[in-house]
Symmetry: C2
DNA sequence: TCCTTTCAGTTGCGATATGCAACCTAGTAG
DNA sequence: CTACTAGGTTGCATATCGCAACTGAAAGGA
């Protein structure tokens, strides 16, 4: 197996690697953040993020290719194009929020604006945490990495 | 406030941008994944990830600079250097897991190996979800972005 | 002691990716 | 008909990346 093939294997077999192939480029997360916050048009992304136009064009194209955004021409004004999140894109919210909360806690040091709240109670959402199958919060001390086949064997043994 | 003004406000200050400055480069997440899985030494990272040595050197240095990894010479073998996660680094686990679960669901299509389990129940951890302050799972329909000052005003009014 | 191997990098160089400004085309507004 | 807008594309300079080769200090073995 060539080195390039090995490398591809690393990316392919790990969910993180697979995800990063699609959303791991420099501006992708910021574009997605924009989309979650209501940006829809090319010029909106460009002026709000300050990203170069060719890069923005490329990134939007990639995100559309990968089914994270969908691209629709505006029937009312045929110059305009609307980019909106698909379900696959919306499902990245936990990633964005985890990253945001970490940045708030460890880098910027204060909560960002705007705040994401429960629409009905008006309470800000909870911090993202790792939980057990039955919903208890877990810290790293409570967890362990186990080989999948090993775990299968344990399960069958029990 | 106009829509354009709202949007500008949205991006003035956000934890995601801050976080990406530190961990947004190409290999950073995969190096952290390795660290969470027990990789500790330069050669381990290099052979396991297939990353170029100069890039690895640069990324490790950056992560150490930002206090995400700590670098300790091994007293028993003075050639060796140990890299381990700090608390700041360990606190990135929700980000890594969200990303991994998304990649498993939408890209690779199957769970990655190894699996992170509750040490005592041997159950795999739950999917990362966005929850309300009192622990109910929330979907995007149940949430709303609110300006912080606006929310303060609401709260005082109530 | 001398020779070999290991570990953690660094260096040189070509290939990619990124950023900037200018330009382009279709469509809209007056 | 002219001006302007939305959404790009093109050319070119710079920055980052990936690979292979090299370095230097520290074991390990005969």
């Amino acid at each position: 197996m060539s080195r390039a093939e090995q490398l591809r294997e690393v990316f392919a077999d790990c969910g993180i690697g697979a995800a990063l192939e699609v959303v791991g480029e420099r501006w992708s997360f910021l574009i997605l953040r924009g989309a979650f916050n209501g940006l829809r048009h090319f010029e909106e992304f460009q002026t709000n993020l300050g990203i170069a136009r060719n890069i923005l064009s490329n990134r939007l194209g990639r995100l559309v290719e990968h089914g994270i955004l969908q691209r629709d021409p505006d029937p009312a004004d045929r110059r305009k194009v609307t980019y909106r999140l698909t379900e696959k894109g919306r499902d990245l919210l936990p990633v964005l929020l985890s990253l945001r909360q970490w940045g708030e806690r460890w880098i910027s040091g204060h909560p960002s604006n705007p705040v994401l709240v429960d629409r009905y109670t008006r309470q800000p959402i909870a911090p993202m945490t790792v939980q057990s199958a039955d919903g208890r919060p877990l810290s790293l001390r409570d967890m362990e990495w186990v080989d999948r086949d090993e775990l299968d064997r344990e399960t069958r043994a029990a």
